[in-house]
């Protein structure tokens, strides 16, 4: 019985993947550039943005989905639903939003929404077919949030691609990211300026 269930499950998974229902998640800590990358992908292939970006952390506080994105490379096509997730953090302090220039009420509201966003991101992990973990290449890659996210994806057997973002900045160090996660492919990009974005698209074909 279990054998037939597995066959049916695989059959449905294949059918849905062929229809382009692969869910590709963008995960990572806050302010790594997930939404900037989502916007880059959507601009390149749909000609529109996906979400707002900001220098203040936790700008994305709800799961955002863009359906049926088709990218092309060397005559091959890849279709997926792009899922942009709120950044995962272990601490959220509304006073830090106030320091960034927000009013107290707005800061408290942002903090409340951000905590819910983190919970939603974690809940959605199980629904992903593949995940791009977007890391800020100017920051310490050994943060526990990065390790926990990647470890969870590995435990769930979800394919992972690491992106070292913000490579346009002088402080960016892709070697440090590669050293921290030697078992994964790491693609260095600048989502903001589109640097090396073709390498990223090529890597997506390999991932999905």
């Amino acid at each position: 019985m279990k054998f037939f269930k597995n066959i049916l499950k695989r059959f449905f998974q294949r059918v849905f993947k062929k229809r382009g229902n692969v869910k590709l998640g963008l995960y990572g800590p806050p302010n790594g550039g997930k939404t900037t990358l989502a916007n880059r992908i959507c601009q390149d292939w749909l000609g529109e943005d996906m979400g707002n970006v900001s220098n203040i952390a936790h700008e994305t506080r709800e799961i955002q989905i863009k359906e049926q994105i088709t990218i092309k490379n060397n005559g091959n096509e890849l279709s997926f639903n792009l899922v942009d997730t709120p950044g995962i953090a272990t601490r959220i302090d509304y006073e830090e939003f106030i320091k960034s220039g927000m009013k107290e009420k707005a800061a408290k509201n942002r903090a409340k929404e951000a905590t819910k966003g983190v919970i939603d991101s974690i809940k959605w992990l199980d629904d992903m077919d593949a995940v791009v973990v977007v890391l800020d290449a100017t920051k310490d890659p050994y943060s526990q949030v990065n390790i926990t996210i990647i470890g969870n994806l590995q435990a769930r057997k979800i394919p992972v691609l690491l992106v070292a973002n913000k490579m346009d900045l002088k402080k960016a160090k892709i070697k440090k990211v590669e050293a921290a996660f030697p078992q994964y492919d790491v693609i260095g990009i600048s989502a903001k300026y589109g640097d090396h974005i073709d390498n990223f698209y090529k890597a997506l074909f390999k991932l999905v």
Binding site: T90, D93, I119, I122, L125, Q144, V145, T148
Partner: protein
């Protein structure tokens, strides 16, 4: 004053996953830094983050978390055998976990061999492995 509470893994071993998370989080909520002699599973780590987010309010701003996992360290010869035996005895829960309340711990810097804990009151305190 900075308070460290050392928790042997045996103290939480018999609890359910939810129970383990609750116990550790409750200590952190008392503004104490938890040093767990062992580590949570990957699933429990994410559940800890979720539980932390559910508890955040104007007094509790979350936690800083760091885990040293000996599984990630390269070893050869006797080291592999030692790890294997420890895994059998401890159920693959070897390591060191630091959970510090965000009101006390500013940042935990980590590289594979050491954890550096920066507190808000005390300038620097190092926990070397």
């Amino acid at each position: 004053m900075l308070t460290l509470q050392i928790v042997p893994y045996s103290e939480i071993a018999e609890l359910s996953s939810v129970g383990r998370i609750r116990k550790l989080l409750n200590i952190a909520k008392e503004n104490k830094i938890v040093l767990l002699q062992g580590r949570l599973s990957k699933d429990e780590e994410t559940e800890l983050i979720k539980a932390t987010m559910e508890e955040i309010n104007k007094d509790f701003k979350g936690v800083e978390l760091a885990v040293i996992d000996p599984q990630n360290e390269k070893s050869a010869g006797l080291g592999i055998i030692r790890k294997g035996i420890a895994n059998v005895l401890l159920g693959n829960r070897q390591g060191l976990t630091v959970i510090g309340p965000a009101s006390v711990v500013k940042e935990i810097k980590k590289d594979p061999t050491k954890i550096e804990l920066l507190t808000k009151d005390v300038k620097k305190k190092k926990v070397k492995k």
